[in-house]
């Protein structure tokens, strides 16, 4: 058994190690070391907890057993998961953090003596408030992440689910959460605690269903943030510095990512959260739309254009992930490079279903990270490039965002693909993108549409290049 002061010092050390873990991510070279710091911090926190409780009897064995089972499951998932499924995985992990926070809060509520918080029915007021916050946010994180997971996995439709009075209902539930928390604190009634949990689960569910599939980058970041605040709430209850530090770090990290994602779409956070985007009246937009001529080509044309180019820019999007085309794409780029063609990749902040989604996929396909550029790094280069190959992206290239104030995506920063000499656009059909907006790029003279599956088309192009 070690003293409370000493264990507090160790918890502080693990908190600092967690800060260093995030700091390491400032560049790929230091990132692996950062991850090691994170693991070390976690090991210290767990060991110190065992030592400070000092109970190594039967219960300890069971703790180890559960730790081991969880560890095996986690390891298995970590090595089995496909990189394209990363958004689902992260959403799933968020739900586990949320649920764990809820369970710890329940446990503390039922047995406050173990946590030094008073006795059942007479829990310290401050602790009860902190516990309720942890439990409420944890429950919202859990049910919200489950919905996000189902939408990303495709089990649930990615289109927004809206109904009349939705916002009013949500507002009422949020108010009742506050009221229930207040009553819980004044009466300490276990029933109220269960009711509070139930309505928190419900609101998490209701908050996410109106948000469409392509807004998932914001949702995942937001749930990331929530899981942090839930941990911080529990951290205050347990008076544990490591947990408070981590909660604050994760909370602000998720909040910043949500902000970056919203900015990438030029939409306010509330606009995304209130949902319904993409379910807008598409008919009014397509009204009066005549059949405009489109130039379409095949892999041979595409290969010809690329061969005669001196620089090519690749614009990947969610479609690349769906078609699992990243390896074929790298092969194509290798072939181009052999012909002394300069190739770079341009990534829009909201490409894919989570922040950094495209970068991970390209890294998986062995694309060196110094060939991959962010929007503002590369946007001026489109004018000087000969060919741009848009694979699985759509709305992020739509010039309407700059020219048409009526467009739902007006004001969104886009990749200036249209400035390039020729645009190759791989797409399965002419259907509009997620925002329900027709892309005028399809009808430009310098655009060649390649109607095919992204992976198949890329493979065809490789054949024609050789």
């Amino acid at each position: 058994m070690i003293s409370a002061n000493l264990s507090a010092v160790f918890y502080l050390i693990s908190g600092v190690l967690f800060i260093l873990a995030l700091r390491g991510l400032s560049s790929p070279e230091t990132s692996r070391q950062g991850n090691f710091f994170g693991i070390l911090g976690m090991a210290i926190a767990i060991t110190v907890t065992f030592l400070s409780i000092g109970n190594f009897s039967t219960g300890f064995i069971y703790v180890l057993i559960f730790l081991l089972i969880g560890g095996i499951i986690g390891t298995f998932i970590a090595y089995k998961i496909a990189m394209t499924a990363m958004p689902e995985l992260v959403a799933g992990f968020h739900s586990l953090v949320g649920l764990a926070a809820v369970f710890v809060a329940i446990s503390a509520f039922l047995n406050p003596e173990a946590f030094n918080l008073g006795s059942p029915g007479n829990i310290k007021l401050g602790s009860l408030i902190e516990m309720s916050i942890g439990a409420v946010v944890g429950a919202i994180t859990f049910s919200g992440s489950i919905i996000a997971f189902l939408k990303l996995q495709g089990i649930m439709s990615g289109s927004p689910i809206t109904f009349k009075g939705q916002h009013l209902l949500n507002a009422l539930i949020l108010i009742s959460i506050v009221v229930a928390t207040y009553l819980l604190c004044s009466t300490q009634s276990p029933n109220l605690f269960w009711i509070l949990l139930a309505i928190s689960f419900l609101i998490g569910f209701l908050l996410i269903i109106p948000i469409g599939g392509a807004d998932m980058p914001v949702v995942i970041s937001m749930l990331n943030s929530y899981s942090g605040w839930a941990a911080a709430g529990i951290g205050f209850t347990l008076e544990n510095t490591a947990l408070i530090i981590t909660g604050a770090l994760v909370g602000s990290s998720g909040a910043i990512l949500s902000y970056i994602m919203c900015k990438g779409m030029n939409r306010s956070f509330f606009n995304v959260i209130l949902g319904g985007f993409g379910a807008t009246d598409v008919t009014s937009l397509s009204k009066g739309k005549e059949q405009k001529p489109v130039k379409s080509g095949n892999a041979e044309d595409a290969a010809f254009l690329m061969k005669n180019a001196s620089s090519v820019i690749i614009v990947p999007g969610y479609g690349m992930a769906v078609a699992q085309a990243q390896h074929a794409l790298r092969e194509m780029v290798d072939t181009l490079k052999k012909n002394n063609i300069k190739v770079s990749y341009a990534i829009h902040p909201v490409a894919g279903r989570m922040p950094g989604h495209m970068n991970v996929l390209l890294a998986e396909a062995n694309v060196p990270y110094d060939e991959v550029f962010e929007l503002d790094e590369i946007n001026n280069d489109f004018a000087n490039a000969d060919v741009v190959y848009v694979i699985g992206a759509n709305d992020v290239t739509n010039p309407a965002a700059k020219t048409d104030p009526q467009s739902p995506i007006y004001g969104m920063p886009i990749l200036d693909v249209e400035k390039c000499k020729s645009v190759l656009f791989v797409k399965r059909s002419l259907s509009p993108g997620y925002a329900g907006v027709d892309n005028e790029l399809f009808y430009r003279d310098n655009t060649l549409m390649l109607f095919a599956d992204a992976k198949k088309m890329t493979e065809e192009i490789i054949k024609n290049l050789n």
Binding site: G38, G70, V90, I106, F115
Partner: protein, 102 residues
């Protein structure tokens, strides 16, 4: 008059939010996905609370309602810790620089 220890913890909390703000802005956008998976892993330090809850039962009855929730929380947090750190490791191992092959 003594200061409530809560205030100290609250100070740590607020200051860490600021640290988080500056640290996360310095994360390169290409590593945002590993950032999410690693924050996921570290927020599972909530396992500390789960262990306390799990060990709260006495030796005659290891399992009571409260400790069962603790054990379940240990299981969930452990999945996250191992899954989160290892998947981050796996992703980070893929980020390579261009080979100087000219």
């Amino acid at each position: 008059m003594d200061i409530d220890p809560f205030i100290f913890r609250f100070s740590i909390f607020i200051l860490t939010i600021f640290i988080g703000y500056y640290v996360v802005w310095s994360v390169t956008p290409s590593l945002h996905t590993p950032l999410m998976s690693v924050t996921n892993a570290i927020s599972s330090v909530i396992i500390v609370g789960a262990i306390i809850a799990g060990l709260a039962g006495n030796d005659e009855s290891v399992f009571n309602t409260s400790s069962i929730f603790g054990f379940l929380a240990i299981l969930l947090a452990a999945i996250n810790i191992f899954g989160g750190f290892l998947v981050t490791q796996r992703m980070l191992a893929m980020y390579k620089k261009k080979k100087k092959d000219k």
